[in-house]
């Protein structure tokens, strides 16, 4: 895929990501449907395949989930430089796309977080702030548990993929009750997966 990309296009990419940044309650991944609508369906800057690959690759790499956004920007840059067939010549624009999209998705939300968390810390004795933290504590703990549940459910139903669910349950117990290193568990999961056992 090859694009002719103007400065105005780069700017609208940046502005769109900055707007989504402030809507990303619950993490960058919640903006994925809108990213797809904008980048693939509306602007045709990315192929469907590149979009899916961005999410898959970012999951294979360590670090926060929001890195898929850097990859979306990378692919836009690569396409703007003449498409993947142009090889290493596409890397500078790819890098620029990746950095631009990270700046766009991060600057608004981190600025807001910085200001809001400072305010909350300065006013931590305020009744409203204490009530917020006290009340939200059980809710966010429930959310963490449900995040794990959803991750597992997205991989397959309990009836069909019972071995996968069993693996998740075993890991839950091990991490909850022991101090086993998480990387060992991830390596075991990758191995069991590659061998076709889960």
């Amino acid at each position: 895929m090859s694009l002719s990309f103007t400065l105005a296009d780069w700017l609208s990419l940046l502005v769109h990501f900055m707007a989504l940044s402030l809507l990303a309650i619950g993490g960058a991944i919640t903006t994925a449907p809108d990213m797809h609508r904008y980048l693939v369906d509306e602007q045709h800057w990315l192929t469907d395949h590149q979009f899916t690959a961005s999410i898959a690759l970012s999951q294979a790499a360590p670090g926060p989930n929001l890195l898929f956004i850097a990859l979306l920007g990378w692919y836009v840059g690569v396409n703007a430089a003449g498409g993947a067939s142009a090889g290493m010549a596409t890397w500078p624009l790819g890098l620029m796309g990746a950095l631009l999209s990270m700046v766009g998705i991060l600057v608004p939300s981190t600025t807001l977080t910085f200001v809001a968390s400072r305010w909350a810390h300065r006013n931590r004795e305020l009744l409203a702030v204490r009530a917020f933290k006290t009340g939200m504590a059980p809710v966010v703990i429930g959310l963490l548990a449900s995040t794990g549940w959803i991750l597992c459910a997205n991989l397959g139903s309990a009836a069909e993929s019972w071995r996968l669910w069993l693996l998740t349950a075993a890991v839950t117990l091990l991490v909850w009750r022991t101090r086993i290193h998480m990387l060992w568990l991830l390596a075991a999961g990758a191995l069991l997966g590659a061998l076709g056992w889960v």
């Binding site: 690759l57 670090g63 968390s117 006290t134 009340g135 809710v139 703990i141 959310l143 991989l155 998740t168």
Partner: protein, 197 residues
């Protein structure tokens, strides 16, 4: 109760967050909890849950927000930037190297199967983090039973009913905050009147 330790410098922040970001596959929060609360003990469980609640309600990637807040707490803006840079620099380099080198590899069947296995493990890591943090609710003014009720309601709303996150945070979270407000006022009142109910 105060956490026993704290980061010693900005570079301690940078390298600590780098190390934990590089261990986090499919959900860094599990690693953040283990490193910050259990190993380094920069935060108690209660503090972690409070900070996480703030990080969760604000827009943006939660663990990125959390690292920024922890960095800012100890070393101001330079600390916030050091923690952010730690969280992002190496993972970003790795993911870009991956896409530049192996864009086609992610489609291969064994790679897909390995990712599936890792996905199941990271699901377990995150669930276990939630379970471990339940003990942070013991001191909650709402009382343990009501806390469990709210945790279970949020779990069902998101995990089973698949409600949008914003509804749960503002709906269930809103009710919980109002009840918490009343509970705190009641405790103050009781303390001010010599402890008799």
């Amino acid at each position: 109760m105060k956490a026993p330790n704290r980061p010693t410098s900005r570079s301690d922040l940078f390298w600590s967050f780098s190390r934990l970001a590089l261990q986090g596959f499919g959900g860094v929060v599990a690693v953040v909890q283990r490193e910050m609360v259990e190993k380094k003990q920069w935060l108690t469980r209660e503090e972690f849950v409070e900070e996480w609640a703030v990080a969760q309600i604000l827009p943006g990637p939660n663990v990125v927000n959390l690292s920024l807040m922890i960095g800012d707490r100890y070393f101001g803006i330079p600390g916030a930037l050091a923690a952010l840079a730690g969280m992002l620099t190496f993972p970003l380099m790795i993911v870009l190297a991956l896409v530049a080198a192996f864009s086609g590899v992610s489609d291969l069947a064994p790679v897909q199967a390995a990712l599936r296995g890792m996905g199941a493990v990271s699901a377990g890591l995150i669930t276990a983090t939630g379970l471990k943090l339940l003990s942070a609710l013991k001191q909650n003014p709402l009382g343990v039973r009501i806390c469990w009720l709210f945790a279970a309601a949020s779990f069902v709303a998101i995990g089973v009913l698949r409600w949008p996150l914003a509804w749960v945070l503002f709906g269930i979270g809103g009710v919980a905050c109002v009840l918490a407000y009343r509970a705190i006022v009641r405790i103050h009142h009781r303390a001010a009147h010599g402890g008799a109910p």
